[in-house]
């Protein structure tokens, strides 16, 4: 054990080990933060929630910090909700009902156009639905009628999907999509440029009952969002990227610890008892070494369960045997003949006591680097399975983000952030463990260090 402590002291002299330790430390901190800030059930709920939860976020928007590196700033989402007091409201009683006017005012300073514009509303009424009309006022003083409709109890008006509005924009401004046309001056030559300044949207509601209420949220969707961006379902990628950390760490560490310790124990048993046991373990090892690991996991994932725990168990079972088993067996056979083992036998120690007290502890210096080097391979295994579509059905993980991105053609459509963010995190995690493990290996196995 003294040697173990010495070895850890030596880590100071390996910069790569320190970098690895820092990365692992950061990952652990992020994981703890994530698990506390976004509890498991909430994360799953958010990740599997539909359009309703994420309706105010743009689709496939890169992260907002992209703007730091661009001269032409992309717009951020502007969301104004009358329930949150972001809108000036005027109500006036008229005969047989009332008139509500909601005035949405915002500054537009971006160099690009918004991706969509939607109005989500809730109306409370008894029998006769209120009548809504929407007006658009540009900084240069033009007024455009957006639409007129009878409200439903809960609904939305999507600017880009309204045929009449599209025709009007074509006639008044030019042959442009609605959310582009509304933000530009009419009849411009060349590529459209956004008209910067203060815009106003007025929602006029004519309610036919005095008790009726009307509230609405106007969302001018930007082209960037938050720290991590969004995916094709408008979900904030931050949740999946954050939750990926604890999942990757748990899966990687549990699988590595489970695998290595089972391997060590089986190798020790084989080396100690020898004879038939040893032969049997060696033959099983030869067979399992050649089993098609991933296809078998795929089969298990398809036929039985995609739960991360089932896959974890199966990967441990399949990885217990392998080259590591051969290495440990060779070491144990050397240790078996040491004098102190003989001494233990002489005082009458049983086989199991010898295996667990005298045979296994001395090999820890070899076990620990192996364990740490093994972690990234399991982290990537989980990601690989997720990319194959066999990820855990509920958990948001890095692999699943990559799968979503690839399945939705992100690399082909230039949505690189969507692929690169989870890939970068996977890379960092893998590198962190691998760098620490390789350094430990050089410390614990001085024969290689001399090289």
């Amino acid at each position: 054990m003294q040697s173990l402590r010495d070895a850890f002291h030596q880590l100071r002299y390996y910069p790569s080990a320190l970098v690895g330790l820092v990365i692992i430390g950061l990952l652990v901190l992020v994981s703890i933060y994530t698990v506390i800030a976004i509890p498991y059930s909430q994360a799953i709920e958010l990740w599997r929630a539909g359009e309703q939860t994420w309706r105010a976020l743009p689709r496939t928007a890169p992260p907002a910090w992209f703007n730091l590196f661009r001269r032409e700033k992309l717009p951020e989402t502007i969301a104004l909700d009358s329930r949150r007091g972001q809108v000036s409201r005027a109500e006036r009683s008229v005969e047989g009902g009332k008139q509500i006017a909601l005035l949405y005012a915002f500054e537009y300073q971006a160099d690009d156009f918004p991706s969509e514009i939607n109005l989500f509303y809730d109306a409370v009424y008894q029998a006769k639905p209120p009548f809504v009309s929407i007006l658009w006022r540009t900084p240069d003083g033009r007024e455009i009628l957006i639409g007129e409709f009878s409200a439903r109890p809960s609904g939305s008006f999507r600017f880009d999907q309204d045929e009449a509005l599209a025709r009007r924009v074509r006639r008044l401004i030019g042959d442009l999509p609605v959310s582009t046309g509304l933000f530009t001056a009419p009849n411009l030559q060349g590529a459209p440029r956004p008209l910067k300044g203060s815009y106003q949207v007025e929602v006029r509601v004519l309610a036919f009952e005095p008790q009726a209420t009307f509230d609405a949220e106007l969302v001018v969707y930007g082209k960037v969002y938050g720290l991590a961006g969004t995916d094709h379902l408008r979900r904030d990628l931050r949740i999946a990227l954050l939750w990926g950390a604890p999942v990757a760490l748990t899966f990687g560490l549990l699988a590595a610890v489970g695998t290595i310790f089972t391997t060590v124990i089986i190798a020790a048993i084989g080396a100690w008892f020898g004879g038939l046991w040893d032969d049997l373990i060696q033959r099983v090892n030869d067979v399992v070494l050649m089993l098609p690991f991933l296809p078998i996991l795929i089969m298990i994932g398809t036929l039985y369960s995609r739960s991360i725990w089932v896959i974890l168990g199966a990967s441990i079972l399949l990885s217990v045997f392998g080259t590591a088993m051969k290495t440990f067996r060779a070491i144990f056979i050397q240790v078996r003949n040491s004098p102190y083992i003989e001494a233990a036998r002489a005082y009458g120690a049983g086989s199991w006591r010898i295996i667990f007290r005298y045979l296994i502890p001395p090999v820890f210096p070899v076990v620990i680097p192996n364990l740490i080097i093994l972690v990234p391979s399991f982290v990537f295994l989980e990601a690989s399975l997720a990319v194959l579509g066999l990820g855990d059905p509920v958990l948001p993980t890095w692999g699943k983000v990559i799968e979503n991105a690839v399945a939705n053609g992100a690399p082909y459509r230039g949505q690189y952030y969507w692929v690169l963010e989870p890939a970068f995190l996977l890379m960092i995690t893998g590198l962190g463990f691998a760098m620490l493990g390789f350094a430990l290996d050089r410390i614990f196995n001085p024969r290689l260090r001399e090289m």
Binding site: M290, P295, L426, F433
Partner: protein, 378 residues
């Protein structure tokens, strides 16, 4: 090898011939023993596949459902049966299903049937796919997978050979310049090999296909395929650059790192010192005294690399749209086509065994101790 000059040419020839003979005999014996052990391994592996697939109950369920559907359709469409009452028809269907199940052995205990399954799987009678069909239109799982095999082997063999030769050359070079900045760079970069090939594939696609637009995103050839063979080959080559590079990047650093260590270990042997003292040229020492004894451990190491690269085939091929066997497996997962998934596992087991077998024989040629020894104890 270097016989004294006094030995007559005839004697030398005789010695050479007898050496060859013993080598060939030993090698043949080793090949047979090793082949047999590997075959047993494959049998056990395939049997495990059969067990896993059957414990899910899917193989039986699928077959029973298929039989029932087939018989029900036949009876319903039989004009002679139209006259009978519905109960009567149902009874006939049940009877026929029972007979068919009996004929196919589905009423036998599982252990007996698993032996049949094993036999079928080993002889690659893998049955019919539920939804998929092969590129030439066959519904047989065997053809779906085997037709895709050449493209997979083309890609992986190219990448494997590239990795082997480039790694040996770089490792040899680094062992000579131990401690140089290049050597340290490879030591520092070796953790990069923790990531699988598909992972680097994503980066390569984003950089070379998406951003720089110099190489295709994926696929095997341009669409439409070029008419003449040289153009076709060139197009395939162009499409192969990225996936092969992904495989290459994912294992080059660790291979160079560990092989360089092997070289360093063997170059500190006494006989190397002796060779140096004799005044042999650096090249001769490198190739005859260092490379030769280091090759066996390198081959073992390379075998593990090749196996792990094989495992990545389904993802790498689907990331690059490479129409190989791995992509067939990926498609089968998406379609939930169980017979194809099981069949792919069986074929992968064979592929791995063949890979190991070939490398074992190379190992035995390189290392006489193996073939003289008990044989099969690699």
């Amino acid at each position: 090898m270097s016989a004294p000059a006094a030995v007559s040419a005839e004697l030398r020839k005789f010695l050479w011939a007898s050496w060859m003979q013993t080598t060939v005999v030993q090698l043949a014996r080793y090949t047979v023993i090793r082949g047999f052990t590997l075959l047993i391994t494959v049998v056990i592996g395939v049997y495990m596949t059969v067990l896993i697939a059957n414990m899910g109950g899917y193989v039986d369920q699928i077959r029973k459902a298929e039989i029932r559907e087939e018989i029900a359709i036949r009876i319903m469409n039989d004009p002679a049966m139209r006259m009978r009452s519905p109960e009567d028809r149902l009874r006939i269907i049940e009877e026929q299903v029972r007979l068919a199940e009996r004929r196919l052995g589905l009423d036998q205990p599982f252990l007996v049937r698993s032996a049949y399954f094993l036999q079928n799987a080993l002889t690659l009678r893998l049955g019919f796919a539920q939804l998929m069909s092969s590129d030439s239109g066959s519904r047989q799982v065997r053809w779906i997978l085997i037709e895709r095999l050449p493209t997979t082997i083309l890609l992986f063999a190219t990448a494997d050979l590239l990795i082997f030769f480039v790694s040996v050359l770089i490792a040899l070079m680094l062992s000579r310049r131990y401690g140089s900045w290049l050597d340290r760079a490879f030591v520092v970069l070796s953790p990069l090999s923790a990531a699988p090939a598909w992972f680097y594939g994503l980066f390569l696609i984003v950089i070379f296909a998406g951003w720089l637009r110099v190489l295709p995103f994926g696929g095997l050839v341009d669409a439409p395929p070029p008419p003449t063979f040289p153009e076709y080959a060139l197009s395939v080559l162009k499409h192969m650059i990225l996936p092969a590079s992904a495989l290459f990047i994912s294992s080059i650093f660790i291979s160079v790192y560990s092989w360089r260590t092997f070289f360093l270990i063997y170059s500190s042997e006494d006989y190397v010192e002796l060779a140096k003292a004799k005044g042999l040229s650096g090249r001769a020492i490198e190739y005859r005294y260092i490379l030769r004894p280091t090759l066996p451990p390198i081959v073992t190491n390379f075998m593990l690399t090749v196996i792990s690269l094989w495992m990545g085939a389904p993802i790498l091929e689907s990331v690059f749209n490479w129409p190989g066997m791995g992509r067939a497996l990926y498609q089968a997962i998406g379609l939930f086509d169980t017979p194809v998934i099981v069949g792919a596992t069986v074929i992968f087991a064979y592929l791995l065994a063949i890979t190991v077998f070939v490398l074992d024989i190379i190992y035995a040629i390189l290392d006489p101790r193996v073939r003289v020894g008990e044989g099969g104890q690699a």
